[in-house]
Symmetry: C2
Subunit: 241 residues, 2 copies
């Protein structure tokens, strides 16, 4: 894995989308540069553990390329909490609170990650009201995301979770009838709170509701029929809410 420390100009030239992230868009140029000066850009192969739950939060991480999976383990069991795709920051909460990570993170694909020292983030956070407000927005969004995930886990059974997941995915792909699962099935199973075996059986059961599956390929034969089973609600399934 190659490690490069890069100055502000290099990072923002190569990845202007970092500056455009909601988190950084409004902050003062001087503060943004201060953050980027201390930042590193690293490239990781797949399956590398970036952070481990329980460790102190040394860096705010931003995925600029690839894919990262947030996961948690206890007593020999492991589950996927979330997958993060470019361009997005993760573990913002641990960073601003200066508290240990509650989740681990690993690369799923070869990934490029920007690492910003947590102390720098906290300094700018204290000095730049615009940044503080952006962090609030980010955190509130994340909070609402986890709340939705929890509601789904507690209120729906595994087939309903799967059906709604597929409908959300369809919406994300612009309503296409056919699309591919963005992650491996075993990871999807862990995310949805079930075993890979049950995911297989679930996809099989959905055939009765017009869903075809071959490998990563999903075909929604009748969104109408699937919706009848899934009963999606904006208060769980609307990602923009």
């Amino acid at each position: 894995m190659s490690i490069k420390g890069l100055g502000a100009d290099v990072l923002s030239r190569d990845f202007p989308e970092i500056r455009e992230l909601p988190l950084f868009r409004e902050i003062e140029e001087a503060h943004f540069e201060a953050l980027m000066r201390g930042a590193y850009l690293q490239t990781f192969p797949p399956q590398v553990e970036l952070i481990r739950e329980g460790d102190p939060s040394d860096f705010l991480h931003i995925v600029v390329e690839g894919m990262v999976e947030m996961f948690a383990a206890w007593n020999g069991r492991e589950t996927v909490m979330e997958t993060v795709s470019p361009v997005a920051a993760f573990i913002v909460a641990a960073t601003v609170r200066d508290a240990p990570y509650l989740m681990s993170a690993r690369t799923v694909l070869r990934s490029r990650i920007v690492l910003i020292p947590s102390q720098d983030v906290r300094n700018v956070f204290a000095a730049d009201p615009a940044f503080a407000r952006a962090v609030v927005t980010e955190l509130a969004e994340r909070y609402r995301g986890v709340v939705k995930h929890t509601k789904e886990l507690k209120l729906r059974n595994s087939l309903e979770r799967l059906a709604n997941y597929l409908l959300r995915l369809q919406t994300l792909t612009g309503g296409a009838e056919e699309f591919d699962l963005p992650i491996e099935k075993r990871r999807l199973a862990a995310y949805l709170g079930m075993t890979p075996e049950n995911l297989s059986r679930g996809l099989r059961s959905l055939e009765a509701h017009g869903v075809t599956n071959d490998g990563a390929r999903i075909v929604i034969g009748s969104a109408e029929a699937l919706r009848k089973l899934a009963r999606p609600t904006p208060l769980i399934d609307d990602t923009s809410l």
Copy 2:
């Protein structure tokens, strides 16, 4: 239910702990007064629905007395997400994001609630960096709380959840061997993601691990034995982390 609109002086005289909330402790006096001027204090009997999921967030709520339960429903099922005890604010995320509530709230006991118009909160939030920072801290804490709850749901079975809940409760009561459940069992069951019947059976099973239960009374015969079953971890069970 009686409704009273109160000026800043009355509210802060009667409930100085509001000013002492982490959320308000650091903000400018003028801003605090502006918030309190528009605030209402209401007293509600038990079982009143204060907010309904999906509604726009008109008010930030603060429980100053009593107890409030946050819950969510879907497709005829209902679950408890959290219970809020004085003095604490709830639905901060929906308020600052100006987004619909994701959870409903109802009083469990007769409760006194301070209601602050969301627009006022957003105004002060934009004008007072100290308040913005406090909101960040609050939100980060809440976020981490939901993450822990989700980890518990996905990684532990119902007996393990119950055992760990009892251990957390014991810690909250200063390590006492005997204590009372703070909420009704059916609510506890919903919070822990199980049915009341299963909670009953769970408490029964825990007798084999030294736990006695009569009504709301819990006696932990051997914290050691219970811990052996529960295997608590700070990354889920430490409420101060």
